[in-house]
Point group: C2
Chain length 508, copies 2
């Protein structure tokens, strides 16, 4: 069967991923090392993610702020463990002026900064400094804030959306009086990420605690949501960190408790980024391009008029404009429907396949006969072909289509999630009890998924030994799922009594 | 009369401005040179500006994208005039790693970039490079895009919101086939800025063309909206540039026209920034703090329960929560009303004055007697005091208040605009016909506004002479208002025949 992309997932998943990004006009190389240009359809998905996630962040009591892009070096020096985790990959501003020299622009030696500035890789240090000004008394707690921002981590090997030098994200930062309250916040935001990923992006995930070696630099505990891609690999799609007093010690975030004593605040941070778009592609894409779940689709319905440079064209455009107006007056998922009339000067077939590749949930084509008969010809992107390989187009009375379209959009959202959920559930092997079987599972010719295995939760050097063995197999520990059964056997790595179950998999 | 701020506009306008920013919790110094922390109330206003302006940008056919933060030096070298305008104030990234040396963090000499990267001061060059990839044929035009981003211009003297090293803005960039289309776009976006400033921020402005010496580096023509602050100074609040082929030449943005010939595209750019918040403060603030127009207020109505740690408190909170729910179910300005129940653990009077200083349009106070009688006590921030100097509080039946509140919010919006508009109109002297009178006007003891004078529109050295004279008087040319009458006299500077009227004023 012929498909809209020239390469299939089966042939080369990595090349297919790049093809989707390019053919769906999501993003492109910018000419600036490791940085991408996010094009309108890709940025439109990010705007939808922002809108829906921001509403959830605000509904849980957080307010948005904005903190500086630049962080003085000295802020990092205060927090040794944190800087160790980031020091290798930061962009450093050393000059504040350029001059012409021998016909070329160069940094002006006279304008060298006394203290270099780091382009933020994350903002714990600079936000911690603000918290230390804001927090004096227990009455000032909790502080619950969030920032939407760009951050920079100098990556040697980049991949669009998944690992780029600059990326966009939100980073939440909170300060609390007690460990219990900070842990409650950490878990609350993990749940916000889980429900957002599943309900809005239709991306089923496993929420759980990362093992010690995968903790955020400076964190006491790190939690993640992990999604499975169609090649079986894991993608960490959001993290929530309990930071204890690491940053409040370094930045002096102290408060006077009700008894008049000085105490260090307990802090948390949590983030989700444009990486989510990479996950969306690898969870929902198919050999015809992207399929965007309706809740995060910039346009949910695209109407393509089939124009032929004849006198009939005006009537077709009017008919389509009226249809789009009717659709945009509807509500779905408690928001107005987003329908577009595609009037660009191109052939209808070109436009149709363009929207297929972009993954608009519903595409409608309207020709002169449809106008005459009050009909629309439409298809669902998630059910593109009939069994005979033909386009699964449906001819409906216009009124019937309009009356049923919001239900259909809900079905598309649910169907994409159900398919992905079945794939996730079917990809986790829970039967492996020894290390040889683990090795065999991941070396089998059939595409492996993940393995949920019992382990003794080793720490320090013992953990490092496990991590090194896994590394040799190109495997990583993903997380200890919150909803995993209790352990009742022995550790697959050490043979000791197991204390919990941990997910193992290849990863992005 | 006593006021909520410790300093008045009359005493020291500049100190008053800082006091509003601090007392209204809008922003604060960040500890990073020239960069500020935008706090929730300030960022909330920015989010409102973003939401309303973004809708207008999209309604005029533009799509949002995202381009890299970093721009290679070589991109600037291609466009000499542009870099001359910006070269003195750019942050330069020269290293991509830090290392520990003698117990301190320093840029790793091994990780010096071959080509330094500039943190974008504006994105014409990097977006122009993308346009050159996107534009091949006349069918690809126009390209209409916008980006919301942070930009950095190294400023020696900074002032919160008005001139900061890093600031937030939107920058629109478009490419067109013809000069006429590009000029139409330039003027369309100028009008979007004018109507947005007036309709949403209640900030009356004068839209017009900047004189040659005030053009954006590389522009053929620059247009601005200029607002008058309460100290009589002008604030440039948005600009729209016709760039001709300056950037399409430098970045090679060429298209094949319908006749098969290669032509350079005509480009435009236009931007509005967080500076708008500084303008909002200086247009609408008073000696009790900020007054936020309802359309851009993060919360339009704040309900303060008067709690006294008694058994009655629960009933008061319930009554207030019900009131807020009723208010949030209403629509105003075609959006849901934004009402807040302020439950923070603080005294009601402290909260009241906090919201007065923040400038929430309507504040409601509810005590036990109000609950018993089904009443609310409320005041408008724009009519804070009665003539006797007492708080202008009104006692209304709850139902009556709810039934009338959206009309009241509309009246507050209109009233803030009408006051500011009367001030602007009354501040422009149109009678000055010679340079001595001009000098006398701006040196008069009474606070001067602006002068609209006739001039011969000199260029080159002749213009430079005028600019230098103005500089000696601490004056600048603002713009040539689009709606100014035609010239009918002589140039106030040179005595030659005048060709148009230009606004002169002190500026921020």
């Amino acid at each position: 069967m012929k498909h809209a992309l020239s390469i299939t997932r089966e042939q080369d998943f990595s090349a297919w991923y790049q093809a989707v990004i390019s053919e769906a006009d999501l993003a492109e190389e910018s000419g600036v090392r490791g940085c991408m240009v996010i094009r309108p359809w890709g940025y439109g998905i990010w705007e939808r993610i922002q809108t829906l996630l921001d509403a959830r962040i605000k509904a849980t009591g957080h307010e948005n702020c904005y903190f500086p892009l630049f962080i003085p070096l000295s802020y990092f020096e205060k927090e040794a463990e944190h800087v160790d985790g980031f020091a290798k990959e930061m962009a450093v501003v050393t000059h504040h002026r350029l001059i012409q020299k021998d016909g070329k622009l160069v940094p002006d030696p006279e304008a060298k900064l006394e203290e270099p500035l780091v382009v933020r890789p994350t903002s714990e240090t600079v936000i911690g400094a603000a918290f230390s000004r804001w927090v004096q008394s227990w009455r000032d707690l909790p502080v619950l804030i969030n920032q939407w921002a760009n951050v920079v981590r100098w990556e040697m090997r980049t991949r669009m959306f998944l690992r780029t030098t600059e990326f966009l994200w939100q980073e939440g930062h909170t300060a609390h009086a007690t460990v219990d309250e900070a842990m409650e916040e950490t878990m609350k935001m993990l749940e916000v990420y889980r429900s957002f990923a599943e309900d809005c992006v239709a991306m089923p995930v496993v929420a759980g605690e990362k093992p010690e070696n995968e903790r955020f630099p400076g964190a006491v505990a790190t939690y993640s949501i992990e999604a499975i891609m169609q090649d079986g690999k894991a993608l960490q799609a959001g993290t929530s960190h309990f930071l204890g007093t690491t940053f409040s010690q370094a930045q002096n975030i102290k408060y006077q408790n009700a008894e008049g004593q000085q105490e260090l605040a307990q802090t948390t941070s949590w983030g989700m980024s444009t990486r989510m778009i990479g996950g969306l592609i690898m969870v929902h894409g198919d050999d015809d391009g992207l399929r965007v779940p309706p809740r995060v689709a910039p346009y949910q319905i695209v109407v393509v008029p089939m124009l032929r440079d004849t006198d009939e064209d005006a009537a077709i455009v009017d008919y389509c404009a009226d249809l789009v107006a009717q659709l945009n007056a509807l509500d779905v998922f408690r928001e107005p429907v987003r329908a577009l009339l595609d009037r660009r000067p191109a052939k209808a077939a070109t436009k149709r396949w363009g929207w297929v590749k972009k993954g608009a949930p519903i595409v409608i084509e309207v020709g002169p006969r449809d106008v005459a008969n009050g009909m629309v010809s439409w298809f669902r992107r998630d059910e593109l072909y009939r069994e005979d390989g033909k386009l699964n187009s449906v001819l409906s009375k216009k009124e019937t289509f309009v009356a049923g379209v919001t239900v259909t959009l809900g079905q598309i959202q649910d169907s994409l999630f159900a398919d992905a959920k079945a794939r996730l559930d079917g990809s986790i092997d829970k039967s492996i009890t020894d290390i040889d079987a683990l090795k065999a599972y991941f070396n089998a010719s059939a595409k492996p998924g993940w393995a949920l295995v019992q382990w003794a939760k080793p720490t320090g050097e013992a953990l490092e030994k496990v991590v090194q063995w896994l590394k040799g197999e190109k495997l990583t520990l993903r997380n200890v799922p919150n909803d995993a059964e209790a352990a009742d056997g022995v550790c697959v790595f050490t043979g000791e009594t197991a204390v919990e179950r941990v997910l193992v998999g290849r990863s992005y």
